[in-house]
Symmetry: C2
Subunit: 365 residues, 2 copies
């Protein structure tokens, strides 16, 4: 099967690029004495987890991911979104069947519920400056949470999501240091109070790649590095040629006089993520590549995205005669996590256009 | 089963509101001598199609929808996105198995391919001012397209997507008149040239509700009216109390001092659609309602959406003690088509919190 045999729109994964990205992260993490616990929220695939894992566990974002990975023998997991009583019961059920899914919390009542359950260990979520979840390392609740968890305390965890707003390698390195320092400070404070803190977990793709020191950290949890995207390429995480996932689309309309194409990849196939809007280069809803994945269409971008239609704004010099109705293009995504989530499977190629495998994704919750 | 038994995030459909919205569209269309061909791109559900259909056919946006509806005996369909040679072959296969799926085109080569196939009829796509797909009714290609289609010509079709930009019932009515006039002009021009034009198809939810006359039109194709959303409520299509779909979410973090909650519905559960950004009232990524679907949380909105986290900005007066970790809220969507597409099923309630049915959606392509 070749790409031209596929029903469009659909998701294409270039395994050669994926493996290169995985190797690049391996090298970045190998600079430090830390483990890599890849975050599978982006790929949501057992096959890709096995390629990215390095002898340790994984990070997951949903119970659906947790259940799938556990079923496939990937038992060491952290579910890295604040747990609720109802979800705790589901994690406990997975753990009774052999999984070792750890959860995170920053809530005292929830910590007591976790301790009472007895079958699930938890990391305390620390806020290192992003202001999303977690408590600061100096927060008065930190020792109370550890005491409430008791033997269920597995460690501390933070995520410097604000590394995405950093606009130079030096500022990313500064955010990475804040991420490290917050997690280590929380761990040291708890150890000083007599607690055992086994896991000190931090990480995002930018901070994993640009951290200068990770002293005191035990593991990193990057995820989007596996695929890269147009936003990460502008955050020093990858190059434009290192984007492993693209959406295959067909030309369904042509307006040569307006330098425009209509394609069958719109908001549902690409997502409405506009993260490159504030980046140095705004790619609209995605960068339009040729069927071979190269920039043969010049500066073409998806300028507008309707539910199932994308309007491609083209270079006036584009060879419209080569772009008949049904011609195929590939769209590099602004944000790989959201674009990949619009599709239920990967069509895996290896540089060329032969579809060598189909790997399912576990979407939804 | 009650809403509190569901794993969050998930999609809730209030059947009472759905039926009210369907009845409102029935009344609007009954003002005119036209058929209703509901567009199923929003609901993507056989059960909902059967509630919305009025003796005629449906409109679909994907081959996946076409195949599902055909399989369930809903054979009269228009696939309302520009057809390609490869997709034509799939439609022809459906039609050989008993379906009557019609396609649309504005391309001369494609028209010849459709005519050569012989098993699929087509409507010529007309541009009534939106500038997305189609040709103008005065375009020199119109008679050429009809001649190329020959006996495969089923009619003309247009869509006034720019009705979404109209900010008063009067301007929506003006767009509706432009939509009607473009389709009827194209049909009359073709009839004058000796062609039979059976179907004159127009419609969006705003124009279907606000058109003053539909003389010469044979059918309307609205879709989002079944659910309504926060954007449509600001386009005179429905009230805030007429939104039939909501996302059920759990509180996973609390910051009372910052008047903020963290919920487990983020960009994947809500979509990143920001269509209310330019509307009179900007609801962020959605309006946060109580578990009962009422505005018991005041002016709360999802102010930020991460992949699986939503930050809820709350009224300072909110009773935080009632919003413990695990408490349930419901989010009314900016854009129902995109939010519903993030979920694989509807949990159907009827005003209350008892889940009376689960209806699957046909996502992907």
């Amino acid at each position: 099967m070749r790409l031209s045999d596929l029903r469009t729109p659909c998701l294409v994964l270039d395994r050669a690029v994926l493996m290169r990205n995985i190797a690049a992260m391996d090298r970045a993490v190998a600079r430090h004495a830390v483990a890599l616990r890849p975050h599978m929220k982006t790929a949501k695939s057992v096959e890709i987890a096995r390629l990215a894992m390095r002898g340790g566990g994984v990070t997951v974002s949903t119970l659906a991911e947790a259940a799938l990975f556990a079923e496939h023998g990937i038992v060491d997991q952290i579910l890295a979104a604040g747990i609720t009583p109802r979800k705790l019961a589901e994690v406990a059920a997975l753990n009774r069947r052999g999984a070792a899914v750890k959860v995170i919390t920053d809530d005292l009542d929830m910590a007591r519920t976790i301790a009472a359950d007895g079958g699930v260990s938890a990391l305390i979520e620390i806020d290192c400056g992003e202001g999303r979840g977690g408590i600061g390392p100096e927060d008065a609740r930190l020792p109370l949470l550890a005491a409430a968890l008791g033997p269920a305390l597995a460690g501390v965890l933070t995520h410097a999501g604000h590394s995405y707003a950093a606009t130079s390698p030096a500022t990313i390195a500064a955010v990475a240091e804040a991420e490290r320092a917050a997690a280590v400070a929380a761990a040291e404070r708890l150890r000083a109070a007599g607690h055992t803190v086994g896991i000190v977990s931090i990480g995002s793709t930018p901070t994993a790649l640009h951290a200068e020191t990770l002293a005191g950290v035990t593991e990193m949890r990057p995820g989007v590095y596996m695929f890269g995207d147009l936003f990460q390429a502008q955050r020093f995480s990858c190059g434009l040629g290192d984007i492993a996932v693209t959406v295959l689309a067909s030309v369904i309309g042509r307006r040569p006089a307006e330098h425009r194409l209509l394609i069958d990849a719109g908001a549902l196939a690409l997502s409405k993520d506009r993260s490159t809007e504030a980046a140095p280069h705004d790619y609209g809803f995605g960068r339009v590549l040729g069927l071979d994945g190269t920039a043969s269409l010049g500066a073409a971008t998806v300028a507008r995205a309707y539910q199932e239609h994308g309007i491609v704004a083209c270079d006036p010099a584009l060879p419209f005669p080569d772009l008949a109705i049904g011609a195929l293009v590939r769209i590099a995504p602004n944000h790989a996590c959201l674009t990949a989530a619009a599709h239920d499977r990967y069509h895996v190629v290896d540089t060329g256009d032969a579809v060598e495998a189909i790997w399912p994704r576990v979407n939804y919750w």
